[in-house]
């Protein structure tokens, strides 16, 4: 026995097996095929949560994605998942769930005290109070925050993984109810590539709860037959537990597949992703998303026991659960009658059907009459009352449609379940997400799809078609149109016979009038989760919040986790009435992704963690650096050795050692990350001439030149050395971080502005390994390494390049120096990078060759006053600001030149690059420190510039800094002050930015 309310027959559950699970600390059992909601209803559980604002007790309302109340936290520790809907949680052995709201317990909730004060807490009350004293909001907010919120964030990182797949298809069919299934079959038979996605575990949609027949067989058998045939098509992909959540531009849709949610944690392969996000580019989309029933709005319509009539049907027919002993139906259309028929079938006592219309449809009237169920036509439920366990009676009243008022009280009816049907709202969410505008149709009293703006069409319930036969016909037609649009000729599918019912139309009833005597006391809920009531909506309108968007935001209508699936249309119509407008004239709100919430992990996919969040680029020599214990710096996507500490060394110890070794003997730097662009073609030099600020037409083969690149705004963008390999062949180097941008920049100018230039660009950054051997002994090391190139200054002068072999490896050797030392930059095929590095290290052993990292590189270049683009520049610095007018040609145009002659760029007191020497030679200024002329306590302090680079120079035995200072070049020798974060004041003298070997004798030696 799995529970008092479980029926002995019917439903799609497996009664032969039991599943044990826990809910709010108690153990229960259910069956395979149950959801958490159905299993608990079967046990007689009625209380599932507390509402957001008033903490009113709430029960199950729906049976699927529309459920606003029954939110649960499922699982433990890292597997804990907040805010799942009990109606969508499939049962598995050992499942453990708690309701998300209610403290200290669901039954005795302290927050329920809000309910007593509800009279002074109308919509928007917080905008009107909590303003005094001025500082108090933070305190109020603390308590408001604590009271708000739903589930808890897990305390541990997620142990599961998620993945993504990209897929194209001819026809994507969303929803596997009757329309979607037959649409899929139609499209499949045409030969089209089809995806059929449905959010539920089983295909069938509403047919899973249906008592009707299709083609003479039970609906579920028909579903099985269709699915079986669909499985035979190789080009058909069937995705269950898969919600189409987003519809973006150009027919791009996202599908969220939940792959292991239904499994106990031990039952799934740990390598299997918990969820998958499908990124779909669909040729055509057929929306068959069905419809969601609306509740009716009356006093007390939120009590546990008040449910959608469609949900009552589902619990009885699909799950074999009678949600109570006695039931009443309250409806304004024919579909509510089905719940009465089903309740009677389940052995419940159906006390009454209350129909706000005077004339129900002939078929349902006949069927319920045959069952002996009393029908109150032209009546309404005006109020619902509760006992200790939720709903226990309802108040029956007669009403007048023309005056919109109650005309007579007919007494109270005892019942445990009240099944509501306020009409069906087509699920137009995806249609709306696609950019289309749904339109109100008074025939169905709901919004229907409007004109398509993308390649999509709606069929069946989501198109306002509710008769089963009509749904099947639309499904076939929709799929035919879609397949034809993709060039497939389909023949169609025979429509099976269905039960035909004579329907009477719905008569909209947006809000049940209140008993005059009850005045404003009534609580008619429109949005259950956010406790937005009909009076809240009217209050908003009265206060001038008349756009539906204002009303939603003022009352929080539709902002719950169900996103207004139940309440939005009722709310819109109630607002319409307050404003004397038709619902369609109030407008609708735009639905946005996601249709139902999607796990962040699934959206992130595999793009997380040290390896995959962003690609990692490593040089060919990387393993050597790792072995030598280097610490790494992220530069762009590259990992660069930062410094190589020996045991017991601090960072400054290591950097000082690396710098001194390079200055005194020889160091070696892995420079492979520098961007390298191979430039070939007869107009290569002309391109360089236009891109760089200096002239390039006279550079001879075998010679190198340093260049500056500006943005068209005149600001320094990149720098590097370019080598002439042949008159029509150059190799450009760029900064590590700027390589891709520079490549794109030149390609763009070539293609869009200078297509007449014959130049070909190839990125060769990864093809070359580059090592810079620097220091007075570098020449000796190259000799020792077996370099076959003459290395003396005469035959191999500074700023030139030679090709030759080192240790048998073909190399390009350049005499360029970023350290200011005699240096040779060796480039080899990256496949030989590690070999050559090893060769150099071996050859250098006699000279104590020292690998140095980016930190030492920075110190060495700062000693020389060489700038680093991006550190000493920030997008607002010109070559002149850096004191580098010598690199700016007067004789030619180049990108950015004109900008150097604007009023502001010609200004004399621009910030200029200078050197700083602190009075105390041991003090190293923080990089970024602001400089002032006269330190002061009052604010603001006028700032003259900032420190861009700052180091302790072991070679000079003191600290040095580079700074950008207003009019700095005119202030040589004067003192300026760094006024630091901690208000410490550090005086420093402004000096020339070149601190070491200003004559450049070492690099040329």
């Amino acid at each position: 026995m799995s529970g008092a309310r479980r029926l002995s027959r019917g439903g799609l559950i497996d009664r032969s097996r039991s599943i044990r699970f826990r809910f709010n600390g108690k153990t229960y059992t259910g069956h395979p095929g149950d959801t958490l909601a159905s299993a608990l209803l079967a046990q007689g559980v009625r209380l599932f949560g507390r509402s957001f604002k008033y903490h009113r007790p709430r029960g199950i309302v729906g049976a699927g994605a529309e459920e606003p109340n029954a939110l649960v936290q499922v699982g433990e520790a890292g597997y804990s998942t907040p805010n799942l809907r009990a109606t969508q949680v499939e049962l598995y052995e050992g499942l453990s769930a708690q309701t998300v709201n209610g403290w200290p317990s669901l039954k005795h909730d302290v927050g329920a005290i809000n309910s007593m004060f509800s009279r002074i807490l109308p919509a928007g009350f917080y905008y009107k109070t909590f303003m005094w004293p001025r500082s108090a909001w933070m305190r109020y907010e603390h308590f408001i925050r604590k009271a708000a919120g739903l589930g808890r964030t897990p305390e541990f990182p997620d142990p599961d993984i998620y993945d993504k797949r990209h897929i194209h298809c001819d026809v994507l069919i969303v929803g596997a109810g009757p329309s979607g299934l037959i649409a899929a079959l139609t499209a499949a038979r045409s030969g089209a590539r089809v995806i059929l996605a449905d959010e539920q575990a089983q295909f069938g949609g509403s047919l899973l709860s249906a008592s009707s027949t299709i083609g003479g067989t039970r609906a579920v058998d028909w579903v099985k037959k269709i699915v079986d045939e669909l499985r035979t098509f190789p080009e058909v992909k069937l995705l269950n537990r898969s919600t189409v959540v987003g519809y973006f531009d150009h027919n791009f849709l996202t599908i969220n597949s939940r792959r292991t949610h239904h499994l106990a944690s031990g039952d799934s392969d740990p390598r299997m992703s918990r969820e998958r996000l499908w990124r779909v580019r669909a040729g055509e989309v057929v929306l068959a998303t069905g419809a969601i029933e609306r509740p009716l709005v009356f006093d007390g319509n939120d009590l546990p026991g008040v449910m959608l009539s469609s949900a009552v049907t589902t619990y009885i027919r699909r799950y074999g659960v009678a949600p109570g002993r006695t039931g009443v139906v309250f409806t304004n259309n024919d579909s509510g009658y089905q719940a009465a028929i089903d309740m009677a079938w389940a052995g419940m006592k159906v006390v009454a059907i209350v129909d706000s219309r005077r004339s129900p449809g002939a078929s349902v009237a006949r069927e319920t009459e045959a069952l002996g169920i009393p029908v109150y036509k032209g009546h309404v439920i005006s109020s619902a009352r509760s006992g200790s366990e939720g709903l226990n009676r309802v108040e029956l009243s007669r009403w007048s449609k023309s005056t919109g008022e109650l005309t007579a009280h007919k007494g109270m009816i005892d019942c445990q379940i009240l099944a509501l049907s306020g009409g069906l709202s087509p699920v137009v969410h995806l249609h709306s997400q696609s950019g289309a505008k749904p339109v109100f149709d008074s025939r169905v009293a709901a919004f229907l799809p409007g004109a398509s703006v993308q390649k999509e069409r709606s069929v069946g319930g989501c198109n306002g078609t509710f008769d089963l036969g009509d749904c099947l016909r639309e499904g076939v037609q929709g799929a035919l149109a879609a397949a034809n649009a993709r060039g497939f000729s389909a023949t169609g599918v025979d429509i099976p016979a269905t039960d035909h019912r004579q329907h009477a139309p719905i008569e909209a009833l947006w809000e049940v009038p209140a008993n005059i005597l009850d005045g404003g006391r009534t609580k008619k809920f429109v949005d259950y989760q956010n406790d937005a009531t009909a009076s809240d909506i009217r209050l908003a309108a009265r206060e001038g919040y008349r756009s539906i968007e204002h009303v939603k935001r003022y009352t929080a209508l539709g902002f719950g986790t169900d996103q207004g699936k139940l309440g939005n249309i009722n709310g819109l119509a109630i607002l319409g009435k307050a404003l004397n407008k038709e619902p369609g004239d109030v407008g609708t709100t735009t639905f946005r992704p996601n249709y139902t919430p999607v796990t962040f992990g699934a959206i992130a996919g595999r793009n997380l963690g040290p390896e995959l969040f962003d690609p990692v680029r490593k040089t060919a020599i990387h393993p050597w650096h790792v072995k030598r214990g280097a610490l790494f710096e992220n530069v762009g996507q590259w990992k660069r050795p930062w410094y190589y500490p020996r045991s017991g060394e601090s960072m400054s110890d290591a950097v000082n050692r690396e710098c001194l070794a390079t200055r005194d003997s020889v160091g070696v730097l892995d420079a492979s990350t520098l961007g390298k662009i191979d430039i070939q073609g007869p107009d290569a030099a002309e391109l360089l001439n236009r891109i760089y600020t200096n002239g390039w037409t006279n550079l001879l083969p075998g010679r190198c030149r340093y260049g500056f690149m500006l943005g068209e705004d005149g600001m320094v963008m990149d720098d590097g050395v370019t080598t002439c390999i042949a008159p029509d062949h150059y190799l450009m180097t760029t900064t590590t971080g700027g390589a891709a941008a520079v490549m794109g920049w030149m390609e763009r100018w070539l293609q869009t502005e200078w297509p007449d230039l014959q130049v070909y660009l190839t990125s060769v950054t990864d093809q070359w390994s580059v090592m810079s051997v620097a220091g007075p002994q570098s020449r000796a090391v190259l000799h020792a390494a077996g370099c076959d190139v003459e290395l003396d200054s005469e035959s191999f002068p500074f700023m030139s390049m030679r090709e030759g072999k080192i240790g048998g490896v073909s190399s390009r050797i350049s005499r360029i120096s970023f350290s200011g030392e005699l240096a040779f930059e060796i480039s080899v095929n990256a496949n030989y990078g590690m070999t050559l590095w090893q060769t150099i290290m071996d050859a250098g052993r006699a000279y104590d060759i020292t690998p140095y990292g980016t930190e030492a590189m920075h110190v060495l270049r700062a000693e020389k006053g060489y700038v680093i683009v991006g550190q000493d520049t920030d997008g607002s610095v010109t070559p002149n600001d850096l004191g580098m007018d010598w690199i700016v040609s007067k004789n030619k145009d180049f990108i950015g030149k004109r900008s150097l002659f604007r009023a502001d760029t010609l200004r004399s007191n621009r910030k200029q690059l200078v050197g700083l020497l602190t009075d105390n030679s041991k003090t190293v200024l923080p990089e970024g420190a602001q400089l002032v002329n006269s330190p002061q306590q009052s604010r603001p302090v006028p700032m003259m510039g900032h420190v861009s680079s700052s180091y302790y120079s072991a070679s000079l035995g003191r600290s040095i800094a580079l700074a950008l200072v207003k009019g700095g070049r005119t202030r040589m020798g004067s003192t300026i002050f760094a006024q630091l974060m901690d208000d410490q004041i550090v005086p420093a003298v402004i000096v020339d930015p070149v601190f070491y070997d200003p004559e450049n004798q070492r690099s040329k030696s």
Partner: protein, 93 residues
Amino acid sequence: MLEIECPWCGSRDQDEFSYGGEAHIVRPLSPENLNDREWGDYLFFRDNKKGQHAEQWCHSAGCRRWFNVIRDTVSYRIVSVYRSGDSPSGDPS
């Protein structure tokens, strides 16, 4: 998520492309002859069209070619794609 028809490679996902802003802004032949206002207009000022917008795209994760697109900046519908130097075709309405 746009799907863009590269004139050389065919339809590809937007993620393969990079955007280059308004098309047909020609770099002045003699910038030195422009006053600050004219140069500023070229540098910074744009039509920023609401509606049909001629713009540059580059198939940066593909053939790396720049080309032009006419796209409706409200509906994001692509009206026409054409190579640099060509004229737009397609329905300009």
